[in-house]
């Protein structure tokens, strides 16, 4: 690590003169963002290995300071960047005459939004975790990994070329592996961590091949060069070769792997084994959005091929619907929110797919806030009730003293997630659905309708959790995780402390007011402006939408429709889980086979295990037992035995009898004579 620091060559970072673009040298500040979390990571790492490290809170403070400073710099960047771009090269990384990839940062409005989300949520989670993780043996180790995660995520977001993004990509994969497997003594956690890393790796292979194909077609992996080339082609109208059109599909594979979309989503629900702050930060707000950021960043490339974006849209939509159905049938709060994250990510991809890049990124932005709030809230519940997460065993937390703030922020976050009017989620989801009905594309209307239905389901399962856990009669059973050791019979929940409450309040406010950023003005307010200024903007189809809308203006129409759907969803949830809980059981009995299947997550995990993992292991066994030991070693032993076989054939002649030898000699001589005679 020390070596990495020396490489940073501080004066270069501080040098205000950035190369190409003429912004006020803002690019060079970008170098600072990954630097501070890195220093924090090293400091916490050192602390982790000193025996006294676990006792003090110092690690938490260092991490919060590092991330906080990065957040401040990101905010300054976001304000100063306006609609310009920044670029700074820290040092040359890979330089063969074919392949050129430097450790360089590229800054544009889209990057600054992502930076704000990453560092902002990161700091808040660090504050939350400083209290939540207190008392755990790996306290310093946790903060080392979190700050390392922020370093990797910022590198990913700031990267100016695909290979550096790949570095960040795998870096976050490593940190998620380390953090999911944080409680390494629980076999389930270790298995979940391994599963996350491997599924991500499958996606990363697609991403790597995509990078190579990009290099092959564009001769370079740097965004600036690629976008310039695309503009040149579009200007000259040259025909786009099939090879170039396959690049988006490969990159998509990487994006779906990292953002847990349909084929490769299985790792996210299991990632809940990790500590809750990790779930909130990595598996809700930041890492899983990397896939969305990749597609947003490379949107011009995706536009080249006619089929890329529709596929993205449809995969996103189906994933949203699919995971919403599973979410409705789960009982573990964190699992429900995990499936809801997969579903909301589906929405973001749908947004990008239907050419509403603003909608997609804005949903990403708002989702980060309310989903983090939901996770941290459920974390507080888990912390307070000794690891209890089953919604059937918790009820009426609103009335328990000290839990009011948590309930309030959870309520606000649930409203946002459900898309209740005027909350953040409402605005972002509405943009996506509106655009779905407007953009001409294969079956995009159907997309819209499915999106609306899923929105209803989302509202239902969100408030199912809320009404079950926070409303209704007060009754709770503690979990088995003797975090704070109390004996069972007269257990009293241990209310969340000030740090947790502060963070929940901030996120709650974010969940409400974040929506206003994207409203107003002709292109969705400040947020829209920022996105349009970046590489992810797409103008064309927008104006045409107004005349041919279903009603006079699709947005007004969509606001009305989605709010009705949201309220209906909330109503059903209220009826079933607050007013008449036994009715829920009766309804479940009515559709028992489907309900049980949904509970078992449509047996997707078992399917993968059966179709892929078990056959591969069988092939492994066959290769080892049959291939190696039997065939190859067999052949080698056989080759080793040939001389011995010849020996065995000749050995009987050596029987020690004098005349036996004489006979052998005479016979041999005769045989040789015959050969010579035959040769004459």
């Amino acid at each position: 690590m020390m070596n990495l620091l020396a490489q940073f060559d501080l004066n270069q970072v501080l040098s205000l003169a950035s190369e190409e673009t003429a912004t006020r040298g803002i690019g060079s500040w970008a170098g600072w963002i990954p630097l501070f979390p890195l220093i924090a990571a090293i400091a916490c790492g050192v602390l982790a290995y000193r025996p006294s490290g676990a006792k003090t809170k110092r690690a938490g403070v260092i991490c919060i300071a590092g991330l906080g400073f990065a957040f401040v710099v990101s905010v300054i960047l976001a304000l100063n960047i306006g609609h310009g771009q920044g670029h700074v090269t820290l040092f040359e990384w890979i330089r063969t005459d074919h392949l050129k990839a430097d450790f360089a940062f590229f800054l544009d409005p889209l990057t600054s939004i992502m930076l704000i989300v990453v560092t902002g949520i990161g700091t808040l989670v660090a504050v939350y975790a400083s209290e939540y993780m207190w008392g755990d043996r790996g306290y310093a180790r946790f903060f080392a990994f979190v700050s390392l995660f922020i370093v990797a995520m910022t590198c990913l977001v700031l990267a100016d070329n695909l290979i550096l993004m790949y570095l960040g990509w795998e870096g976050v994969g490593l940190c998620s592996y380390l953090l999911i497997g944080f409680y390494y003594e629980k076999p389930a956690a270790v298995a979940a961590a391994k599963k996350a890393f491997i599924v991500n790796r499958i996606g990363d292979l697609g991403f790597a091949l995509g990078i190579m194909l990009t290099y092959l077609q564009f001769g370079s992996v740097e965004f600036a060069v690629i976008f310039k080339q695309i503009e040149a082609w579009q200007a000259s109208g040259t025909e786009i070769s099939i090879a170039i059109q396959t690049i988006p599909f490969l990159l998509m594979l990487g994006a779906f792997g990292k953002s847990a979309q349909l084929p490769l989503y299985v790792w996210l629900p299991d990632a809940m084994e990790g500590p809750t702050p990790v779930s909130a930060l990595i598996h809700a707000a930041t890492m899983v959005t990397a896939g969305v950021y990749l597609i947003a960043r490379m949107l011009p490339l995706f536009l080249l091929s006619p089929y890329a974006l529709p596929t993205v849209a449809w995969v996103g939509c189906i994933t949203a619907l699919f995971s919403a159905t599973i979410g409705m049938a789960q009982y573990d709060i964190k699992r429900i929110f995990a499936y809801s994250t997969v579903s909301q990510l589906g929405y973001m991809f749908m947004g990008l797919g239907v050419l509403s890049s603003v909608g997609g990124t804005f949903h990403l932005f708002t989702h980060a806030f309310f989903k983090a709030a939901l996770f941290l809230g459920s974390g507080a519940v888990m912390h307070g009730f000794a690891g209890q997460l089953d919604l059937r065993k918790l009820s009426g937390l609103w009335h328990v003293p000290g839990w009011q703030i948590v309930t309030a922020s959870m309520f606000v976050a649930c409203l946002a997630l459900a898309g209740f009017p005027l909350t953040a989620g409402f605005f972002s989801k509405d943009m996506i659905l509106a655009q779905a009905f407007v953009t001409p594309g294969p079956g995009f209307e159907w997309l819209g309708w499915i999106g609306l239905i899923t929105a209803g389901m989302t509202a239902y399962y969100t408030f199912r959790v809320f009404f079950r856990v926070f409303m209704g009669p007060v009754s709770f059973k503690p979990g088995d995780d003797h975090h704070g050791v109390h004996d069972d019979h007269h257990f009293h929940p241990h209310a969340p402390g000030p740090a947790i409450n502060f963070v929940l309040i901030v996120l709650g406010l974010g969940a409400i007011f974040a929506g206003w950023l994207g409203v107003g003005g002709e292109s969705h307010g400040w947020f829209g402006g920022m996105v349009h200024a970046s590489s992810a903007n797409y103008e064309a189809a927008h104006e045409a939408a107004h005349e041919t809308g279903f009603f006079s203006n699709p947005h007004q129409w969509m606001m009305l429709a989605s709010s009705i759907i949201g309220i209906v969803g909330i109503g059903i949830a209220a009826y079933l889980h607050l007013l008449n809980r036994p009715a829920a059981e009766r309804w479940r009995q009515a559709i028992l086979p489907v309900a049980r299947l949904a509970e078992h997550k449509w047996c997707v995990d078992e399917g993968y295990d059966l179709l892929i993992r078990r056959p591969l292991r069988a092939v492994g066994h066959i290769c080892y037992s049959l291939g190696d030991t039997l065939i190859i070693n067999g052949l080698v032993a056989l080759a080793g035995w040939i001389p011995r076989l010849i020996g065995a054939a000749v050995r009987p002649l050596q029987n020690g009898r004098l005349q036996g030898y004489g006979l052998g000699m005479a016979g041999g001589a005769a045989m040789l004579l015959i050969i010579v005679w035959w040769m004459l």
Partner: protein, 531 residues
């Protein structure tokens, strides 16, 4: 200059022989450190401006009528491997400080003799000197495995010796054929690599094919390419820690170095003709070995099979016959040496404490050995090919080489027989690598802590001989830290090596491309042919 690099270990060997056994380890350490310092001195004396040309050359005639001269010389690729060897020997000496209890003097003697042989291989500019050293590395390795190995070491050492010995004899026949061809043209015997490569390159395609087959027999066994790899897991599971570190880190590179130095330049036409076949063998090797790794219960055999899988990438890079591929493969040789060598050291440290290598008896070390866990996870990530660490650069470049080989790159006409599909299948190797290495970490490092039998674990710590602390002692940390620093340095700053090996790699690739583009009129006249 180079001769002194050989003389220092010889001197150390002599002193070890004379001094009492107690001091053998210390002398070995000092000797190998001095050799390392001298190697750095050689590195500084080496002018990387024209790193393609042979520098620091020196030669003494040995058997004049045979044209055999003991000539040394090194270009930047060979220098890299010399530095790798010079670095690893002191580390493995330090690594096995307490591991070896009886016949200590012979152990370090064999280790230093092994170092002499390996350095001679990389520095040889004369074909026969290369071959002499190439085969002589077998003897110390044989004794290291046979005397200091674990349970069925006798069988493993004999199989190791015979496997490689048979392969290399056929290579000898191939090399002699080329030498004789040169003699029948010019009338005087010489084994100088440059002249022989020139003659060999002008051979007819069929002759080149035969010579390539002969060369591959010896080098493919050493690299362990797919069908002939079964000796490696046997040798590794039985070898002592230092033995398997050197075996994995340097001895396997003799094969790939041989392919790079001899197979490609000597039979360019045949090599590019058969490159798809070699590439398919590599890919099968990658996937086959990775799957086999996944079902192993013995940790050392798992890492051994992982070396087979990783070196599949290395040779794939060579078969790509373009700058990215070949420089990736050279990078891979060095990176694999560092990361797998370090992994073996880590396993050795656990073996020294609990005397077992099977995952059933051992697990969850993280709780009791945090520092060891850091290093093991670090090196696992390096060999999985995590960007930012050294494994990634080599792996990415080799797959990238295979991907772009044969495709008209932007304005750069690259010949090369492979294509994107080779890269795609090789890429699955990256996923499988993650699977089996995390399977290994999941069992050995994380998960529930269990030790062979708890008493033994306890007793062992206060056992009679060296009282090893539960986590890593300072000595052990000192062994692993330089490797970790190199992994990070090569990961963040691969240019240090890439830029230096650019020239020789380009030279080899250009020679192969030139030979392919050459119309085969310049055939070797047939009279040279025997009956």
């Amino acid at each position: 200059m180079l001769l002194t690099l050989l003389l220092i270990p010889t001197l150390t060997a002599l002193i070890i022989m004379l001094r009492p056994a107690r001091q053998a380890a210390l002398i070995a350490l000092i000797g190998s450190m001095v050799a390392l310092v001298w190697a750095c001195f050689v590195w500084s004396a080496f002018d990387f401006g024209d790193s393609a040309s042979i520098q620091l050359a020196a030669s003494w005639t040995w058997i004049e009528p045979m044209g055999l001269s003991f000539s040394l010389g090194v270009d930047s690729v060979a220098l890299m491997l010399v530095m790798l060897t010079a670095l690893l020997i002191p580390l493995s000496v330090l690594g096995s400080w307490t591991a070896i209890t009886e016949r200590v003097r012979e152990f370090f003697l064999w280790l230093i003799i092994l170092e002499i042989a390996m350095l001679a291989v990389f520095m040889a500019r004369d074909l026969l000197v290369f071959y002499l050293a190439f085969e002589f590395t077998l003897v110390p390795m044989f004794f290291l495995i046979a005397v200091y190995g674990s349970t069925n070491r006798a069988r493993a050492s004999i199989i190791f010796f015979l496997y490689t010995f048979t392969g290399s004899i056929i290579t000898l026949v191939g090399l002699l054929y080329v030498a004789w061809l040169q003699w029948s043209h010019t009338g005087h015997w010489t084994f100088d690599i440059a002249t022989l490569t020139a003659t060999a390159a002008s051979m007819s395609a069929t002759q080149q094919a035969w010579v390539l087959l002969a060369l591959c027999c010896g080098f493919a066994v050493k690299v362990p390419l797919f069908p002939v790899h079964t000796w490696l897991p046997l040798a590794h599971t039985e070898a002592p820690t230092a033995g398997s570190v050197i075996l994995a880190a340097v001895l396997l590179k003799l094969g790939t170095y041989g392919l790079y130095r001899f197979a490609m330049p000597m039979c360019p036409v045949a090599f590019s003709q058969y490159a798809p076949l070699i590439a398919t063998l590599c890919i099968i090797g990658i996937i086959y070995a990775a799957l086999v790794c996944w079902v192993q219960r013995d940790v050392k055999r798992l890492i051994a099979y992982s070396s087979v899988s990783h070196l599949g990438f290395c040779v794939l890079g060579l078969a790509a016959i373009n700058t990215a591929g070949v420089s990736g493969s050279v990078m891979y040789m060095i990176n694999h040496g560092l990361s797998t060598g370090a992994l073996f050291l880590c396993i050795g440290m656990v073996y020294e404490r609990y005397h077992t290598r099977s995952m059933d008896e051992l697990g969850g070390m993280a709780r009791r050995m945090p520092i060891w866990t850091f290093f093991t996870v670090f090196f696992v990530m390096s060999s999985v090919g995590l960007p930012g660490l050294n494994g990634f650069v080599g792996e990415f470049l080799t797959i990238f080489g295979a991907f772009t080989s044969g495709q008209p790159l932007q304005g750069l006409p690259t010949t090369g027989p492979l294509g994107p599909w080779y890269a795609a299948f090789a890429g699955t190797g990256m996923i499988l690598a993650a699977i089996y290495l995390l399977y290994f970490t999941g069992h050995l490092v994380f998960g529930k802590y269990h030790v062979p039998d708890a008493s033994h674990g306890g007793v062992h710590e206060h056992a009679h001989h060296h009282r090893l602390p539960r986590d890593l002692s300072l000595r052990e940390v000192l062994v692993l830290t330089p490797l970790a620093i190199f992994c990070v340095w090569l990961g963040v700053q691969p240019d240090a090596i890439l830029s230096r090996i650019e020239a020789p790699v380009n030279q080899v690739v250009a020679s192969v491309e030139f030979a392919n583009s050459q119309p085969l009129a310049a055939l070797v006249t047939e009279d040279g042919e025997g009956r």
